[in-house]
């Protein structure tokens, strides 16, 4: 690599490497599950593996790398982690409700009918 890479001690490099590969692997597994699961409501669960475990592990690797490399605490990655972990449930909840609404509007037999109002 021709770019200027920060000099890290061995333990920090190993920790960064482990978290980086772990996060990427979790994201890939989530995406594979998203490709293979049969129905939409099952598919909705798989990518959250990437948005929770993947984002957490890779941002932790970034925090360790820049904190050890520059010699001071660098935690601005927490901002991304916080934001993703707040917005992903909101997004998926809304999408699930939209899909349910569409399936009910088409009278899909696999989807239960709307519960009667109390």
């Amino acid at each position: 690599m021709t770019e200027q890479v920060l000099d890290l001690p061995l333990w920090a490099a190993i920790a960064v490497a482990i978290f980086l590969v772990l996060g990427a692997l979790l994201t890939l597994i989530g995406t594979i599950g998203f490709l293979r699961l049969p129905t939409f409501y099952e598919r909705l669960h798989a990518p959250t593996l990437g948005t929770s475990g993947g984002v957490g592990a890779i941002l932790l690797a970034s925090i360790i790398y820049f904190s050890v490399g520059t010699g001071r605490l660098v935690v601005h990655e927490i901002l991304i982690g916080l934001f993703v972990s707040i917005t992903t449930p909101v997004t998926f909840m809304l999408l699930a409700r939209a899909a349910l609404h569409r399936d009910r509007a088409e009278k899909d037999p696999d989807v239960p009918a709307k519960a009667p109002a109390k």
Partner: protein
């Protein structure tokens, strides 16, 4: 030694994330309905954001962090607007 470990890990992580983006874009094309395509767009931008963070570890620069933050913010708004559109048929009522 630590430079070799870091370079290998960054390369592997970039490869895995690129494959994840590829699979997500496959789902955009084959996804039977609109909601599948929106979810795969969501997965695609999360993977791209993680790829940018990995780039910033590989090059040792922090400029990629801001790009990742902007992708996260705008992707959320885009997915939310598309979900609203599926639900109501229009974004702003």
């Amino acid at each position: 030694m630590s430079a070799i470990i870091l370079f290998t890990a960054v390369s592997i992580a970039q490869l895995l994330l690129a494959v994840a983006m590829l699979i997500a874009s496959v789902r955009i094309f084959v996804g039977p309905r609109a909601q599948d395509r929106i979810i795969s767009l969501d997965t695609l931008y999360i993977s791209a954001m993680l790829l940018l963070v990995t780039f910033s570890i590989g090059t040792g620069r922090t400029v990629y962090f801001e790009a990742a933050l902007v992708i996260g913010l705008l992707g959320f708004v885009a997915t939310l607007a598309l979900a609203k559109f599926l639900m109501r048929g229009e974004v702003i009522e």
